[in-house]
């Protein structure tokens, strides 16, 4: 038995961890009859990928099976990381079509959570670029679920609860260079930030960082970071010869847990102000390398230790378009009133909803992080209620503490998801600590 937690390191679960090396290992694990869940690289923040029974470590299945270099189509096992995909194919001009904020997610995890990137408003989520997935169901049989099939739609965003994802075929995006033309714009108010996102809805990538400390009229001021892949013509001549060369950055590590007090209310406030003013100093377009643009936090491995031993919690909700303005304002007011500043508050635009259980809905999403303590937990209950009042829902890949009743009130799709699980035999077998907590 081993104690295992998600990336937020909040409330570890006692589980038996077993490494999977091929389909036979997974079939044997299923035949044992113990409740289990698959785990990729452990980047889900909460308890989605730990089981109170058996946790399948899918990193042993990390082989790439084929790549069509003309069309950018990759077939790979679930344990392959996006970082592996980038290492192998980026030098040939291919990049993941959708990427979350870390390249250290597994393919299986990205599918299970149907992760989104800064381009959801244009391209949709990860699932929009998946042609098929192979899933081992409760009966130990492997089903290939093609895009559009019912099993496919439940598996994308299904948090590993439809079966064990073994392999998938994904489509990559052709790019000409390793650079992003980033256009940084500072805004003064929340309304201005949202206006900006609306006005730039055709930008391929867009994300805004919000200052969640400042109150009053300046509440919700932020930095919008728009981006597009640079073409060769965007590069200065010295970069054109090696358009995919990425500047080498030192890999930093947090070798020990910081004391919980290191990220206290004061340092979080200072960080928010400094971040805003630093961003404001350099508005307008400039070239940023792909790694810094998409994966700023990956530069510090083990950054999750920054919150200390107790860990931290993420809160991410989506609000429908019509409720986004008042809803975001209410969320920020509640945070400011609590005095619990989030270190990074990220606002993104979402495009249309897809899939049976995927998180995104047309509108806006706000992601926040808080140290794991009683005050934050109390604040998050308040944020739950505001989200429900505005017709929003919650991101399961980040959740570690939501009560079952909140999930049920937020998501009308839960009943159908449960029925599918009962009918396919998945219910008793594919179980995470999260699915138990939420009664999925």
């Amino acid at each position: 038995m081993t104690r295992l937690a998600g990336w937020g390191r909040f409330r570890p679960v006692e589980t038996r961890l077993a490494r999977m090396r091929d389909d036979g290992d997974v079939a044997a694990a299923l035949a044992g009859g113990t409740a289990l869940i698959a785990r990729g690289n452990g980047r889900a923040y909460g308890d989605s990928a730990v089981s109170p029974g058996l946790t399948l470590d899918m990193r042993g299945m990390d082989r790439m099976l084929s790549f069509d270099a003309d069309r950018g189509v990759l077939v790979a096992e679930a344990g392959v990381l996006l970082a592996d995909v980038i290492a192998a194919f980026f030098p040939q001009g291919w990049f993941p079509a959708v990427t979350p904020g870390t390249k250290f997610v597994s393919l299986g995890g990205a599918i299970a959570a149907d992760v989104h990137g800064k381009n959801h408003h244009v391209d949709g989520g990860f699932g929009a670029f998946v042609d098929w997935v192979e899933v081992m169901g409760a009966d130990g049989r492997i089903a290939r679920a093609e895009a559009g099939s019912e099993l496919f739609d439940w598996t994308l965003g299904g948090m590993g609860l439809t079966g064990v994802i073994l392999r998938a075929q994904i489509r990559l995006r052709p790019v000409e260079t390793g650079w992003i033309v980033q256009d940084m714009r500072a805004t003064q108010t929340l309304a201005a930030t949202i206006d900006m996102m609306e006005a730039t809805n055709d930008a391929p990538y867009s994300v805004a960082w919000l200052d969640c400390v400042t109150t009053g009229v300046m509440m919700g001021r932020g930095l919008a970071m728009l981006g597009r892949h640079a073409g060769l013509e965007d590069l200065p001549r010295e970069k054109r010869r090696k358009p995919f060369a990425t500047p080498q950055k030192p890999v930093l590590r947090l070798p020990v847990d910081l004391p919980a007090a290191a990220l206290n209310g004061v340092t979080r406030r200072v960080f928010n102000a400094a971040y805003y003013w630093n961003g404001r100093r350099k508005p307008g377009p400039r070239l940023v390398d792909w790694d810094s643009y998409f994966y700023p936090l990956d530069a510090i491995l083990d950054w999750n230790r920054g919150y200390g031993r107790a860990g931290f919690l993420q809160f991410q909700c989506a609000l429908p378009q019509e409720a986004a303005r008042p809803g975001m304002a209410a969320l920020l007011e509640a945070i400011a009133a609590s005095g619990e500043a989030s270190v990074l508050s990220v606002l993104k635009r979402f495009g249309a909803e897809r899939g049976r259980f995927s998180f995104p809905m047309a509108g806006y999403t706000l992601a926040l992080d808080f140290p794991a303590n009683d005050r934050s937990l109390k604040l998050m209950e308040r944020l739950d209620a505001i989200t429900l009042d505005h017709g929003g829902r919650f991101y399961l890949a980040k959740d570690a503490r939501m009560p079952r009743a909140v999930m049920e009130a937020a998501d009308g799709r839960v009943a159908a998801f449960r029925a599918m699980r009962a009918q396919s035999g998945a219910k008793g077998l594919f179980v995470s600590a999260q699915s138990e907590r939420l009664g999925l």
Binding site: D22, G60, R63, L65, S66, F67, A88
Partner: protein, 244 residues
């Protein structure tokens, strides 16, 4: 580095990591195992990731009579051969049942020595090549908890040092790898101290480095040199009463 790299016992976690490390350098890879059919996904992986040529070969380390023809049947005599063949078993069972003990001894000593011996002769005739034997710190001193495995590894370690001695100055280099604890199928479920536990890809990188730099004996994590120096320095009269 020119010429293909042969990996013997290619189904193991360490073997997979070695294959990736060398393929990333652009080397053609020959994967050999008892059941090469199970290596299809690994072949696809190496070809897909690194664009190198990969061939699969059938070999049973225990069938020593077949080793000459196995090596003769390779598409090309490898420039580097890495032997990752091994079997630990359960010490209690090995001690109780001598047929099991013999299997462990043959899998860790006789088989690997035979395979590398055949390759050594051919590389010596060519005048170039590197042989890598993955042995174990368990062979440094016999302990109650795994002396059957350990004694076979001790034999293999001595064999490698003799081979190195014989081939020095003949263009063929021999690397002895003493990995210490590695997070593989062999150690799964054991409660091992983190600072002593290497990941397979660390082993792969260490072996690539040792081959490129022409090193003789390597520990994957340096701390093992210290640990083993201490364990070897304990006088036998005291050591026999301990349970290390």
């Amino acid at each position: 580095m020119k010429g293909p790299v042969l990996i013997l016992g290619a189904g193991s976690d360490i073997a997979r990591a070695c294959a990736r490390a060398f393929a990333a350098r652009g080397c053609a890879i020959q994967l050999a195992a008892r059941d090469p059919g199970r290596l299809e996904a690994d072949r696809a992986d190496l070809e897909t990731r690194y664009g190198v040529t990969v061939s699969l070969h059938e070999v049973d380390a225990l069938e020593v009579e077949a080793h000459e023809s196995f090596v003769a049947g390779l598409p090309e005599l490898p420039m580097v051969a890495i032997c990752a063949v091994g079997l630990m078993g359960e010490q209690d069972e090995n001690a109780a049942d001598m047929t099991r003990a013999a299997l462990v001894m043959r899998s860790n000593f006789e088989g690997p020595a035979s395979l590398l011996g055949v390759l050594a002769n051919r590389m010596e005739a060519r005048g170039a090549g590197t042989l890598v034997g993955i042995s174990s710190v368990a062979g440094e001193r016999g302990r109650a908890s795994n002396y059957i495995y350990g004694s076979a590894k001790a034999g293999f370690t001595a064999y490698l040092s003799g081979l190195r001695n014989r081939l020095a100055g003949r263009g063929v280099h021999v690397v002895t790898v003493l990995p210490g604890f590695v997070a593989t199928k062999m150690t799964e479920g054991m409660d091992l101290p983190k600072p002593l536990l290497a990941q397979p890809d660390e082993v792969g990188r260490a072996i690539l480095g040792a081959v490129e730099k022409g090193r003789d004996v390597i520990h994957v994590r340096r701390i093992w040199r210290l640990v083993m120096a201490v364990i070897k320095a304990i006088p036998e009269a005291i050591f026999k009463k301990t349970s290390i």
